[in-house]
Subunit: 318 residues, 3 copies
Amino acid sequence: MKYFTSVHDVKSVEQMLQDALALKKNPLGFQHLGKGKTLGLVFLNQSLRTRLSTQKAGNNLGMNVIALNVGQESWTWEFDDNVVMNGAKVEHIKDAAAVMGQYCDVIGIRCFPSLTSREDDYNEKVINQFIKYCRVPVVSLESATRHPLQSFADLITITENWNKPSKPKVVLSWGHHIKPLPQSVANSFTEWMRNADVDFVVTHPEGYELSTEFTQGVKVTHNQDEALRGADFVYVKNWSSFEDYGQTPAVSGDWLLTPERMQITNNAKVMHCLPVRRNLEVSDSLLDGENSLILQQADNRLYAAQAVLKEILETNFF
Amino acid sequence: MKYFTSVHDVKSVEQMLQDALALKKNPLGFQHLGKGKTLGLVFLNQSLRTRLSTQKAGNNLGMNVIALNVGQESWTWEFDDNVVMNGAKVEHIKDAAAVMGQYCDVIGIRCFPSLTSREDDYNEKVINQFIKYCRVPVVSLESATRHPLQSFADLITITENWNKPSKPKVVLSWGHHIKPLPQSVANSFTEWMRNADVDFVVTHPEGYELSTEFTQGVKVTHNQDEALRGADFVYVKNWSSFEDYGQTPAVSGDWLLTPERMQITNNAKVMHCLPVRRNLEVSDSLLDGENSLILQQADNRLYAAQAVLKEILETNFF
Amino acid sequence: MKYFTSVHDVKSVEQMLQDALALKKNPLGFQHLGKGKTLGLVFLNQSLRTRLSTQKAGNNLGMNVIALNVGQESWTWEFDDNVVMNGAKVEHIKDAAAVMGQYCDVIGIRCFPSLTSREDDYNEKVINQFIKYCRVPVVSLESATRHPLQSFADLITITENWNKPSKPKVVLSWGHHIKPLPQSVANSFTEWMRNADVDFVVTHPEGYELSTEFTQGVKVTHNQDEALRGADFVYVKNWSSFEDYGQTPAVSGDWLLTPERMQITNNAKVMHCLPVRRNLEVSDSLLDGENSLILQQADNRLYAAQAVLKEILETNFF
């Protein structure tokens, strides 16, 4: 595996899942793999879990980690080709990426969508250029359309919390927010759940349909109650409109996940990728209750990142 | 010791002081203690000495260190419970702290006071929530009311500069500034001096009384000359009003510490925690003179931090 | 070597050049040199190549690296002596530098010119004060008038790309920009080329003369064609006026380096220190063409930094 940007980059999800669970028991057992190697972490946007868990994953594997906050510590990037660079953008991504590829053995990059140009975002204009020019293995730390390390950690978490022979019912439920958010976590979770042995349902208000690239063949309903009925896992997340791109069409009804709403589920576990808008997306009592998996999800970010980095270190020539 | 937030957390100040002096002679002698362990450093405010000395202290003890600038690199935190998070705050401290506690074995956190709500500040609303939710050992890198690593370094410095059988006279003297500063260094120094074998006096203009929680039983005078007479150590520091909380009441007289004022002392050493407003709090000639201890204090920050981290590594199960 | 701020600090450029080329083949061969030592990196300005390459150079030599973004993570610095610090500047450089010198064995510092006071800039007011007060070995990561690590990397690159017995013709050619830039790269490249075995020419529009401190004895022409004729290496870089200090006098003619202009050269290699304003300073087709050395220059930043740090570690007592 040279690139980890979506579930499609993974040869065997089941194998990598087992790897992550094994690393969780023995996180320092593979320090020789990264010895003398450099992991670069590039942030075009803010980060907490991703920043800390990936840095620690690199350390656990014996790598040196160097991080760069683009635009704060360094210069703003130009993403368009063939332009006369006489504006505010100081350095072309093709130069920045190529330079970093020379200093780093593996690079993780976080690049949120613009939410203004759907074409650019869904063509993954930023991460694809970065990959093209840096020439070394790249791990997505959340790109314009996907957040695969999060979804992998979510899959680990669901696996750890399900030991019945039947498939669990997993629901992705839209939640309120105060501003337009990317569709990346929702897209990515959908993509990974389609590849997992689960009964998967997405529910959201009208106008918030995800791209059919992700939801094709997936059960989707505007009726939250219908989705929640008998659910084993409920994942709450806000996203903005794909159709009316980056907008937040008026929503009818209250989509806050409350204990009352959960009564219709099969005593479901509650999931969220964090940061969560408490009492707007999900009630405090659910997030802090015994069925909450939010901290376990965050903890598994470390092992997801470490499994991905380990796979990259083992399958590439350096 | 699981938490280091004030002198009251220290079982034996004398023992930890001896530890710090021993570490100063052999800083790399305990690398095995931190091997494979992660020190997280969380900054809600700016830092120079604390950032660098604590990072180096962790390195010296063999730890991996990961730092996070909250609000710049990551998201702004909500500190109130049970609120609907529909404002500018993106993540609740309870989630952020709990997540970081999973990635880190020990966490240092810097969180200055608001200087607007005395109740919140003196209840240590931020660091106490952080401690509650992160569940791992925590070191204060300066909180709303105290700066214990600084005070510990100050104690080390005084110890190194006093070899007479009698108690030294130590004076904490208020200095001018251009804006309201926390009371934390003054509070903390007072707290540590009360626990040390010194003759301690605080002097400041009217209206700048510290909380009696800290000054109870301590000699306090508005007469700077009276305080300075016969002093062996003079520590200068600005702070804002506790009574008229966070305000800067008009000051009568000039509180700048000058060589002229120092003549009344017993050839006293000059101390300041830095950063110092030169020629506003203390004259250049004193700060740069042979009686200045400011650099020694800063140097001892490293050994203070290392002694605290060593004690934590030795007395907790990981 | 205790300080590396210009070519004049280097005992033998040829020896250090051979060292860098050897390190390029064996970058991890000297980890014992830096073991237990701390490299501090201080940034008063933005950085990409310098930040990452110097950090990696330190890691490659076994050092612990701690970085500080002054003014973002820490406090703004006062540079004037004997002032009453009652303004916006929070800490005097003399205190900050002295403190950091206690925590670090070697310090790299980046401090761009003001471009407002030529006297201050050309007296190297910032880095010279830093050196004076920190008392440990210092590496310039680009100062007000020079960028020696860049120039050293440029020399390595030219050496790698020239194997004829004759001297190569090396041209430094001014390029367009949208705002006033420092003269440091141009000064420094000139200084290093004067010390190298090359035929060196500088070309720029009228009004953009560099300080004669750097160009004395160097061929300078306002005729770009004349300079380019028969050139083996063309280095493009923008800078602002030295005479009308920090200003950008009107320029006659188009100084963009294009493939057409290059036809007059001896199939010259194209160089730039990056970040480059594409199609304003140099055409895309040249930067991305087979004669472009821009990535090799950036790559050599690592070995330049490592050779300098290695020399410092080997020739100082710690």
